[in-house]
C-alpha cells in the first residue's frame, strides 16, 4: 500500500495547521462565511441540513487496518458513531462540529489520511476498480497510475480552479467495475496488437443533470505518456470549458458540443506541444511507487486443500454467501470477499465504529492488512486465503456483516438524499430501506438475480440512478416528494443511461412500482436471462404498460 513520503507528510500536516488557523479566524469573526466557505470546501467540509459533513478521501478506495481503526475513532470521537461510504469510494461523517475539525484532521493525518480533493472544482479523488491487484481478469494493478495521477494533480497550479469538479477513474481489468464510462476521464489499461501495455482513454462521461457516456479519444496510449496526455486534455478543457454556466461547465458538454473527434484532434495538437517540454515521471520514481503496490506475500501452498468444499456442503448459509459475495482471485488458493453494507432495512453504505474495528481486525487477520471501499458502497477484503473463508464468514456474521446480497436488488446504491444533503429535492434513504424490506427474502432476491438499483435524492445523481438497471430519482412536486423511475441504465463496459419510464410515483407508491417492474421482468424473461438483458430485448413498453395500466 502506498505510504506517504516526507513531502506528503509535511504537506498534509501543513494543511492541518493552515486550516486550524482558518477555523480560528472564522470563529473569531475575522473571516466571513463567504471568505471561509471556499477554504472549508478545499478541506472536504460541507455545511449540510443538520450539521457539518466531512468527506474523507480514501485514495482509490484502498485502506489499511490502521486507517480503518482511525476512521472508527473519528466516528466515535467526533461523530455519532458511524460513517457513510460514498460512491466515490470515500467516507463521510454527517454530524461534525466545526470547532473540532482541526483536531479531527490532525488525527487523520497521523494515519496518512486527509480530506483534500474531496470537494471543489479540482481533480477529485481518483477512483479504481475495487478488486485492483486481486482480480483474476486484471492486466495490471491500476492503483499505481491512480497514485501517479493523485501526486500529479494534488498540487498542480493549473488544476486547482477548473471550470467544474473533475473525476477520473482507472481500471486494469477486462470487466469494468469502476464505471469508467461515466467519468470525465476513464482510463482503461489495455494491450495493443504488439502485446504492449498502455491505456485506452475515454473522455466526457458523467451523470448529473446531463448524463453522458464517455467516448474513446485514444485507443492506445503508451504507458510513459499518461501524464502529458492527461495534462493536454485538462488544458483543452481549461481553455474551452464554460465557466459562465455551471450546468454546462463539465467536459462532457464540451465533448457533446464539439464532438469527440474534434476534441481528440485538439487534445492531440495540444499534446504535441505539451510533450516537448513535459517532464514525465522518471522511471525510478514510477518504480518506487510501484513497489508499494507489489503483491502481498501469498503462500504458494495455499491452493492445495482449502477445506472449502466440506464447509460449503455443511453450511448452506455460508454456501450462499460464497456464491454471492466471493470472487475469483488472480493468485491460486485465494479469493476476494465483498462485505455488503446493505443490511435489511439499513442505510446503504453506513457502517458503525464497532463494525469498522471488526473489519479492520479481519483485514489484518485474513487479508494482508488491506481493505477496499467500493463505489457501490460496500467493503472488500481483497486477498483472503480460501481456507480462511469459513472462519472469516463466521466472524462477519457475528458483526452483522455477512449479508449475501452483493449485486442483488437489495444491494442498493443510495445517496444521503434529503435526510442529510442540503441540495436534495427528496429523501433517498427511506426509499432504499423500504425496497430492501419489501424484497427481504434472499431466495426471492436470488431468483430475481443480478439487478442494480440506484437511488439519488436530486438530479446531481450522486446515487448513480442514471446507470442503475432500475434508477430512482427523488424529486419535489408542489411541496411533495415523488420519484421518477429510469430503466436500462448500466455502468459496466456496455454503459448506458437509463430511460425515463413515465410520470413519477408518490413516496407511497414507489416501492410497489419497483415491484411491478420486477414482476414484469419475471413474467417475461427467458430462462437464465438477467434483468438488463431482458430489458434490452423487450424495451421500455411492457414495463410502462404494466406500471401505468391502472391510470
Amino acid at each position: 500500500m502506498y505510504r506517504y513520503d516526507e513531502f506528503d507528510h509535511a504537506f498534509v500536516h501543513q494543511r492541518v495547521a493552515q486550516f486550524r488557523d482558518q477555523v480560528a479566524r472564522r470563529l473569531s469573526g475575522e473571516l466571513s462565511e463567504d471568505e471561509f466557505k471556499p477554504l472549508r470546501l478545499m478541506n472536504g467540509l460541507y455545511l449540510q441540513l443538520h450539521a457539518y459533513m466531512l468527506r474523507v478521501a480514501i485514495p482509490y478506495g484502498t485502506l489499511s487496518s490502521r486507517q480503518m481503526r482511525c476512521l472508527a475513532h473519528i466516528a466515535r470521537r467526533y461523530d455519532k458513531g458511524y460513517g457513510h461510504i460514498t460512491t466515490r469510494q470515500n467516507i463521510q461523517y454527517n454530524w461534525i462540529k466545526l470547532t473540532e475539525v482541526p483536531d479531527l484532521l490532525a488525527d487523520l493525518a497521523e494515519v496518512e489520511m486527509h480530506a483534500i480533493q474531496t470537494s471543489g472544482n479540482c481533480i477529485r479523488n481518483v477512483t479504481a476498480d475495487h478488486f485492483a491487484g486481486a482480480a483474476a481478469d486484471e492486466i495490471e494493478d491500476p492503483r499505481l497510475w491512480c497514485e501517479i495521477i493523485r501526486q500529479w494533480s494534488t498540487l498542480h497550479p493549473e488544476f486547482s480552479f477548473l471550470p467544474r469538479k473533475f473525476k477520473i477513474a482507472v481500471s486494469g481489468a477486462a470487466k469494468d467495475r469502476a464505471a469508467l464510462r461515466v467519468h470525465d476521464i476513464g482510463v482503461q489499461i489495455c494491450r495493443n496488437d504488439a502485446g504492449e501495455i498502455g491505456f485506452e482513454v475515454m473522455v466526457g462521461g458523467g451523470q448529473g443533470r446531463t448524463p453522458m457516456i464517455a467516448k474513446t479519444i485514444r485507443k492506445f496510449l503508451p504507458k510513459a505518456e499518461l501524464l502529458s496526455y492527461l495534462e493536454s486534455i485538462l488544458r483543452v478543457y481549461n481553455q474551452l470549458g464554460r465557466r459562465d454556466n455551471m450546468y454546462k461547465a463539465r467536459i462532457k458538454i464540451l465533448v457533446h458540443e464539439m464532438g469527440a473527434d474534434a476534441l481528440a484532434e485538439m487534445v492531440e495538437a495540444e499534446w504535441r506541444q505539451v510533450r516537448e517540454g513535459f517532464v514525465d515521471l522518471p522511471e525510478a520514481e514510477v518504480a518506487r511507487i510501484e513497489r508499494y503496490f507489489a503483491p502481498p506475500p501469498f503462500d504458494p501452498a495455499a491452493g492445495s486443500d482449502s477445506g472449502l468444499d466440506t464447509a460449503r456442503r455443511a453450511d448452506s448459509e455460508f454456501d450462499r454467501w460464497l456464491e454471492q459475495n466471493v470472487d475469483a482471485h488472480r493468485q491460486p488458493g485465494y479469493a476476494i470477499a465483498t462485505i455488503s453494507l446493505k443490511s435489511d432495512g439499513g442505510v446503504p453504505g453506513d457502517i458503525d465504529a464497532a463494525q469498522m474495528e471488526a473489519v479492520a481486525d479481519l483485514a489484518e487477520r485474513f487479508s494482508f492488512d488491506e481493505l477496499r471501499a467500493t463505489h457501490q458502497q460496500n467493503l472488500v477484503l481483497p486477498h483472503v486465503r480460501k481456507g480462511d473463508l469459513y472462519e472469516l464468514w463466521q466472524s462477519l456474521k457475528a458483526h452483522g456483516l455477512a449479508i449475501a446480497n452483493r449485486g442483488l436488488i437489495s444491494d442498493i446504491i443510495a445517496c444521503p438524499g434529503m435526510d442529510y444533503c442540503s441540495l436534495a429535492t427528496a429523501r433517498s434513504i427511506p426509499v432504499a430501506q423500504a425496497i430492501s424490506a419489501r424484497f427481504q427474502d434472499l431466495a426471492r432476491q436470488k431468483d430475481i438475480g443480478d439487478l442494480r438499483l440506484n437511488i439519488s435524492g436530486c438530479i446531481n445523481a450522486c446515487g448513480h440512478h442514471h446507470v442503475g438497471h432500475i434508477g430512482i430519482l427523488g424529486l419535489e412536486k408542489k411541496g411533495v416528494e415523488n420519484y421518477q423511475i429510469t430503466l436500462g441504465g448500466r455502468a459496466d463496459g456496455e454503459a448506458a443511461i437509463g430511460a425515463i419510464v413515465g410520470p413519477a410515483f408518490s413516496a407511497e407508491d414507489i416501492v410497489g412500482a419497483v415491484e411491478t417492474v420486477v414482476d414484469t421482468y419475471l413474467d417475461l424473461r427467458e430462462t437464465g436471462e438477467p434483468f438488463i438483458d431482458a430489458y434490452a430485448r423487450l424495451g421500455r413498453e411492457p414495463f410502462k404498460e404494466r406500471l401505468y395500466a391502472a391510470h
Binding site: E33, H50, K80, K97, Y420, A424, R427
Partner: protein, 100 residues
C-alpha cells in the same frame, strides 16, 4: 394561518437553530419568534443578519409555518426533516417520527 420564523445553522457545530423571542437561538422550534406580517418577517431577518455578523449563525432564512391553533409545524417537508432529523436516526437520539 401562516406564520414565519427564522432558521439557520449554528456556526460552531452546524446544528439547526431558530431565532427566539429573546433574540437568542434555540434548537427547539417552540422557542421560535414568529412573524405574522411582511414587516415582522423583515425584522426577523434583520435580527438574524446581525447574528450572522456576530458569528453566531450561518445562512438564515424564513421558514413558513402552519399555525392552525393546534400543531405549530413547518409547511415544507424539508423543514420538517431539518426539525426532526433523519427518520432513521441511529444514535438513539431524537426519533424523527413520521416526516412525510
Amino acid at each position: 394561518m401562516k406564520l414565519d420564523i427564522v432558521s439557520a445553522n449554528r456556526l460552531t457545530d452546524g446544528r439547526v437553530v431558530y431565532l427566539t423571542r429573546d433574540d437568542g437561538w434555540s434548537e427547539s422550534i417552540i422557542d421560535g419568534r414568529s412573524a405574522a406580517t411582511k414587516e415582522e418577517s423583515a425584522d426577523l431577518l434583520a435580527d438574524a443578519e446581525r447574528a450572522v455578523e456576530a458569528g453566531i449563525v450561518v445562512a438564515p432564512y424564513l421558514v413558513s409555518m402552519a399555525d392552525d391553533g393546534g400543531a405549530f409545524a413547518p409547511l415544507h417537508f424539508r423543514e420538517r426533516i431539518r426539525l426532526f432529523g433523519p427518520k432513521h436516526n441511529r444514535d438513539g437520539g431524537q426519533p424523527a417520527g413520521r416526516v412525510a
